[in-house]
Symmetry: C2
Subunit: 507 residues, 2 copies
């Protein structure tokens, strides 16, 4: 692994053990070469003898029962995908004879090659591998899986599949232990985060990221410009393509699965944000806007985009094309700045896909309900249906302290309209840094939004959980009602507050 | 008042004083006879010298600064509407010469009479009184204002107006003081509840209701069948029309502004609920279904409906036609039982309006997102666009402990589609009785849903608050950002957790 350990890994800092009323189980399937694959599920055992398997993002942590069982955090999780066959390089676009030969899920899918990752995911989603491969080939779905992150359990982001949730985590202000940083990821994935974005800053970000990657059962995303900025002591005007490129390669080597790149913030779009109520609120957008203005030159992310594509293709890293000009308020939603950038993201999508790189598109932000669907419609039209990945959006600005809720409304609606992944928002949004409870509330709230959209889109099997819980409720099987919920601990605690006696729960 | 006081009213139990950063103010307008009317607003003072007035439901409680200023709770609030002119009786339906002469806002509106209530509300909503009167005349809006509840500040429920929020309260298990019961109403209206439903049960409900009514600045709703059931010791089969009628008259005399009546649960609909996942979940629906089955007779609420209309007309009480067969789970949404009842509510709406009684229609419940809009469409089509008043709906069943959120998603969407009032859901839904914090979270969550819909419907002036807050956010006017929010106290607390120093907030 090649990194030093500033402190000893202490597994007692890691949350382990199953969620109440359930246990980890595995469902068998086979890979393209007939190899056996084990897909994790969370099995909820019911008091009537039935059980329900639900999608599980928690990795081995929920199967450990004592700290002694926890793997060595300094070594990392078992490298699940290391033994899987990896097909040969194929033309990025078989319709274009001159296209480069690459080893990405997009290129394989386009060339009709089924990968072990595809087989694993098809079983995980309960859909046929043919549908999955077709969606990836069309660029309507992505499988963020860096060759150098073999610890992760493959998953798909696309509108035909279960809506996914991303949780952001950041490093601690003071230098902390490996277990403390890993625990943030473990905590978020325990409650259902499908991917994690590491937004750490400061001197230790390389090491923090290494710890998280080696121990993460889910794909990890980053915003490389943040680390590049650290390398120039926080002065955006001192950034160069070379510094940025080297940072991307550094992170690619570590195993980052998807990267946010704000390559659509063009010099000519920056003035469009001047008339806004809230200007540019994206950190990456602000950095690139400052660079463009200072140099009065087109963004190096845009001018070097093809070169960047080839780096990402070499690892099969997925682009998350950032919306640096996303609206930061209801007033700015769907404005000229936002939509100009979105058109450019479409142009970049075609370049990336032509080089075999998987792409998703980031979206807003703050949007009133009547303007939400238009975001999806334009994204699909302009960006060739690349998976949409939105931050909320918040449906109103007037509730600081409750922005998990203002944004869950927007998130559910935008997911129903076709958004494939939702970046969570916590109650601390706009006010401060989320603590452990905030992260949990944020993830659960976004699982609600995502699942509500799955129901509305009739995702196969989604309603089984609602039906099982409602049947338990109607039959007064209280334990089953608690355990079938997204957060059994809270349900039990709320119930016990008013009716503490055990007989009441079994009544 | 005619009731005894089991304990002395202690004003120190009542939450008083303005919400952080604001103070009560009044905006002048004039009634139809030129009489001056004062419309309450909450004035938020900003650090840049500007201010923003927002809709205020809190009555005088937010203008008191010490317990000594609080009015005598045993006497009640000043009788605001007592001195207002009340027009003469007019034909319930001027197009039908044989229709009874009544004194209701519906009949006056149909006869072109503007009431002081209409003038007050038009100023409160920022819309012309002509629009308001036309909406009331068409039955698309209601003004729940019992002649015998003069303490309440008039408000309107209708899809052309700001979406309203109802909060349910219940009495304490042990006999409590007047101040304790009044405080529940004061607390909910402080955070923005537009109406209160008193769902109290037990021996003291008459007295509890009297306390609340005399001290409530907002309309009060009840479900009279609950009290009727107390009178027959909880045996639904022992209910009779006479017992029910006398209960309605008792509550009407006290000043109840709107009443939930489950008159659409017909004998022939009860078997439709047998195939459901969650049967009949409405308490009123269950009571009436039990009665119908036991007697194998049509519901007395249905067979005596015209008589009931005439009682309500005499006081100008508004019907809230209950959805006793509402779905209690995603699986049961929009099913035959629900829709059969809705058609009957339409028939009852026409009977009530023909007798001059204002009507709103209650709606679900639990509905997946893709089936929400159909609820509004059918309600408008079958019930002549009577204002729709829904409980959520919950967009998924899988999150007990978070049903304020599962339902806020559905509530925002159904309000955008035209629902006029939302009945709140607290985090304790399905699990236990809400405490004070739950009530606040429930109200704030529903204000978010209602305001999001106001934005989406372009309600005049709704976006001013979002814009003011976002401008404050962009300009780092932290105090203004906190104070413009729905819950300044929570915003400040969250901010202080991570950045405790005062300079940071002014940065």
């Amino acid at each position: 692994m090649g990194h030093t350990h500033p402190t000893v890994a202490d597994a007692s800092d890691i949350t382990i053990g199953p969620i109440r009323g359930s246990h980890k189980a595995w469902v068998g399937t086979t890979g393209p070469a007939g190899e056996p694959l084990r897909v994790p599920v969370r099995r909820i055992e019911l008091t009537n003898g039935e059980h329900l398997d639900v999608y599980d993002t928690s990795g081995p942590y929920t199967s450990y029962t004592t700290a002694a069982e926890v793997h060595d955090l300094a070594v990392g999780l078992p490298r699940l995908r290391e033994d899987w066959s990896r097909p040969h390089a194929v033309p990025a676009d078989p319709a274009q004879p001159s296209s480069p030969r690459v080893r990405t899920q997009l290129a394989w899918a386009r060339n009709g090659v089924t990968t072990p990752e595809m087989a694993f995911i098809a079983a995980r989603e309960g859909l046929s591998v043919d549908v999955l491969r077709a969606e990836v080939a069309a660029g309507r779905a992505v499988i963020p899986a860096n060759h150098r992150h073999p610890e992760a359990e493959p998953m798909v982001i696309g509108k035909k599949f279960a809506v996914k949730v991303n949780a952001n985590i950041g490093n601690s202000v003071v230098r902390s232990s490996i277990a403390e940083e890993v625990e943030k990821m473990v905590w978020a994935t325990r409650w259902g985060a499908d991917t994690i974005m590491d937004l750490s800053t400061g001197r230790d970000i390389h090491l923090t990221r290494e710890w998280i990657l080696r121990n993460s059962p889910v794909p990890l995303g980053t915003v490389p410009i943040y680390q590049a900025l650290e390398k120039v002591d926080g002065d955006p005007t001192a950034l160069t393509w070379e510094i940025y490129r080297d940072t991307v390669i550094e992170q690619a080597e570590q195993g980052v699965d998807y990267m946010t790149v704000h390559a659509g913030v063009l010099l000519r779009y920056v003035p469009l944000a001047a008339r806004r109520v809230t200007g540019i609120v994206s950190r990456g957008g602000s950095i690139m806007a400052a660079w463009c203005l200072a140099h009065h030159t087109e963004s190096f992310l845009y001018t070097h985009f093809a070169e960047l594509c080839d780096i990402l293709a070499a690892y099969d890293i997925t682009f998350s094309l950032g919306d640096g000009l996303r609206p930061g308020s209801i007033a700015d939603a769907n404005d000229e700045a936002q939509l100009a950038e979105l058109r450019t993201l479409g142009e970049l999508t075609r370049i990336a896909k032509g080089r075999g790189v998987q792409v998703m598109i980031e979206g807003p932000g703050h949007v009133p309900m009547h303007k939400i669907v238009e975001n999806v419609r334009l994204e699909e039209e302009w960006c060739d249906e690349a998976p949409f990945y939105t931050l909320g959006p918040l449906a109103t600005d007037i509730a600081p302290g409750y922005d998990h809720i203002t944004s869950a409304i927007g998130a559910a609606m935008i997911a129903q309209a076709g958004t494939a992944m939702l970046c969570y928002v916590t109650p601390k949004e706009h006010l401060g840094l989320p603590d452990r409870d905030d992260v949990k509330v944020g993830v659960i709230t976004y699982k609600i939004a995502a699942h509500s959209a799955d129901l509305a889109k009739a995702h196969p099997g989604a309603q089984l959980r609602d039906d099982a819980l409602s049947r338990a409720r109607f039959e007064f099987r209280w334990q089953d009602q608690f355990n079938l919920g997204l957060d059994p601990d809270t349900a039990v605690a709320f119930h016990d507050e008013t009716l503490p006696a055990e007989p009441a729960k079994n009544a």
